[in-house]
Amino acid sequence: MSESPTATRLGVTVTVGPLGDVRGNIATLLGQSLHELLTMFYPPAVGKKANVAVTELIQNVIQNVLDADSELGLDLRVDQDALIVRVRNKATTAQYEAVHARIDALAASVAPKDLFTATLRSRRADRLKGGLGLMRLVAENRFRLAVSYEQEHMTMQATFPLRGMP
């Protein structure tokens, strides 16, 4: 057994395709399963953060499926330095640019929580969902977000540093 439970290295990769075959709430299923897996090795707070990141990122994909024949990829890595969640899916350049703009706005904000608050209130009347999940990951859970685009596929990455975490 490792000296410290947080020295455990864990990696999980899941691919699902075609997305048109998804029948149930796959965001929930993966988020909750990985939460339970991580809690075996890490403090509950790490499992909770993984749950939120996996759920919100996969939910975004499921709510914006471009091609029912395409595939979803989830990659979760955790070690003593960081928790990293990557989600890859087929997307248009317009979708990528919209996500990129949201991430840039969050990165540029000196107070992401204020931006989250203002966005939540302004969109409430119309029940608009777009971007709340990403804002939550930054403002609530202190993830660093990044997005890349290659060969018609967008990869979202959420990173939470664990070094120094109790």
């Binding site: 149930g24 709430n25 929930t28 909750q32 509950p44 909770k48 939540l120 409430r124």
Partner: protein, 135 residues
Amino acid sequence: MNVLTYGEIMEGGASVFHCVVREDAGSLFVTFSGVVRVDNPARHLAELLAEMRLLLPGRVIDRTVVDFTELEFCNSNGFYIIMDIIELVYAAATGPVLVRRLEEDDWQQETLPILLNLDEAAVAARTSFEDVGEI
């Protein structure tokens, strides 16, 4: 303790979320339990909101307790419905509101105050928190 109304979310044939509104000797108790993970929670809880709008006005309520400690997860799709319920609870009375929440839960510590609208001075003045450790 008198149950005034309740709402639930069913997922895959199972009940995964409950919100129960109770009254006892001038105190109003609102408890949230389970998980909010569905795509459109408002669809499941519309009847609860309608009943709260019908039952709460005019009731004598000296104090209110809103308990989130049994709420294990709330996705971002659930934020608006939580705001709707909270707004009705605060509108039902003018007295103090005790919010019970989990001590080590990012959403209950960071986002819940936003959903409660604590930036509004009148809301903040009525609200106190009890942070509860998870067993």
